[in-house]
Amino acid sequence: MTYIEFLQVHGSRMADGTVLTVVQFLLATVVAVVVAVLFGLMRLSRNPGVRGVATVYIEIFRGTSLLVQLFWIFFVLPLFGLNLDKFVAGFLAVGLNMGAYGAELVRGAIRAVPRGQWEAALALNMTDRKRMWRVILPQALVIMLPPWGNLVIEILKGTALVALISVADLMFEVRQINIATFLSVQAFGTALIVYYVLARFFVTPVMRALERFMSRKIGRA
């Protein structure tokens, strides 16, 4: 069987899997961004209780394995009465985990905005909230976009784990094909290429474009 023939037979299955991988990736990214902004801001709160909650969250999700978290969300939470569909459990686990890393990026970027910006906003008598949303976060966004570029690729790669709770993503389909045909080189080789192409020719250019767009908005380009 040539590789072309292999693709002719199994290509559409892998294409379906790739679509699911992309959807899982996009949803996980949304979750990660929301979690990152929320917990990143909480980490900077004046209220020690709020700060503490965020610190515990970040510690737990960064300090334990994504796979274990995925299994917890899918297999253990139902024991406490919280049943999640495997599709939801998949992107949620990846998003919650990566969001913990993102929260540290958000916090670091906010703290990297020069003090003079905070002071100028205060001198204009802005409320804390407006100062954050209108003055600090837009500038923090420019600072944190390059490291987010790496994190977003981690999110893409992280979604491969959802195959282990039987979400029919690319990795899942490829493993099924491998079990059925023993064509490991072709099956996993294709997966390798697809993940690389997605990361290199879709995710990275989008993140770069976003960086350029934001730099222009800030008048730096």
Binding site: E119, L122, I218
Partner: protein, 272 residues
């Protein structure tokens, strides 16, 4: 270390209430006493310049008035009302953030490094406080901002981001941004120190015009002795966190009484 606040009036009354009054204000950073029981009044419409050696507390005075720093003891009054404190049941208590916001609206500040918002145009910088803080409509805010950009000679730069403006232009936008809020008190902290010599006059000319045209109270820290002498109603020489000597520019620059003032002025004049 609680201070007996009952010796301070709850608010200032009378014919000559100063626009700004520091009473017995002390500021420490750890063991370092930066301001030592400072008393200082600034009258309405007055232009007061603060000079003094590096580290004498000049910037700290402005920052406390702008509420960028808290004070350790004493009271600051603005427009007759306490800024650092508020009245509750006939007593002065530390001010709530709501109280501070209300009084702070009377004060504007320009910084040594401009601190314009880099993601907004010159016009956007001026409009931001008007729309977001004062709640003006975008049209009103734009109108008022353009008046001020025009006043500082930058109407045609309205759509430029700060990164495309020279230092002198950025500082003028910063002045327009602060003035647009219509403060009663303007604070200038070494607003020409970060500028190339050839553009300093762009900024000093704007400030010069404010002295004539407005009923604006101004407090300015500067190392430009010539400018201070020319436009101030009064000059304060700071030393070790207190006013060592103050008076009209003529008196202070030409007939300083205190030895430290003389030494400082000699050193500065030698350097130039």
């Amino acid at each position: 270390m609680t201070e007996d606040m009952s010796r301070y009036p709850l608010h200032l009354e009378g014919d000559d209430v100063p626009m700004v009054r520091f009473r017995n204000v002390t500021k420490r950073y750890g063991p370092l006493v930066v301001l030592n029981q400072l008393d200082l009044d600034v009258s309405t419409g007055e232009m007061v310049t603060i000079i003094g050696p590096s580290g004498s507390g000049k910037t700290t005075v402005l920052r406390m008035l702008m509420t960028l720093e808290t004070i350790d003891s004493g009271v600051i009054y603005v427009d007759g009302e306490p800024l650092t404190h508020m009245e509750r049941n006939g007593q002065l208590l530390p001010a709530s953030s709501k109280h501070i916001r209300r009084i702070r609206s009377k004060i504007g500040m320009c910084f040594q490094h401009f601190n314009l918002f880099p993601h907004m145009t010159a016009l956007g910088n001026c409009m931001e406080g008007l729309v977001q803080v004062l709640g003006l409509s975008r049209r009103e805010a734009e109108e008022r901002s353009m008046e001020l950009l025009d006043m500082v000679g930058l109407a045609e730069k309205r759509d430029e981001h700060p990164s495309r403006l020279s230092g002198g232009q950025q500082q003028r936008v910063a002045i327009a941004r602060a003035l647009a809020m219509r403060p009663k008190v303007m604070l200038f902290d070494e607003v020409t120190s970060a500028l190339d010599p050839e553009v300093i006059s762009e900024v000093t000319n704007v400030i010069r015009r404010l002295v004539g045209a407005h009923d604006l109270t101004m407090l300015m820290v500067t190392h430009q002795m010539g400018f201070a002498k020319e436009i101030s109603d009064r000059v304060c020489f700071f030393f070790n966190g207190a006013v060592e000597e103050q008076g009209t520019p003529t008196k202070l620059f030409e007939n300083p009484e205190r030895e430290r003032t003389q030494q400082f002025l000699n050193a500065v004049l030698d350097a130039n």
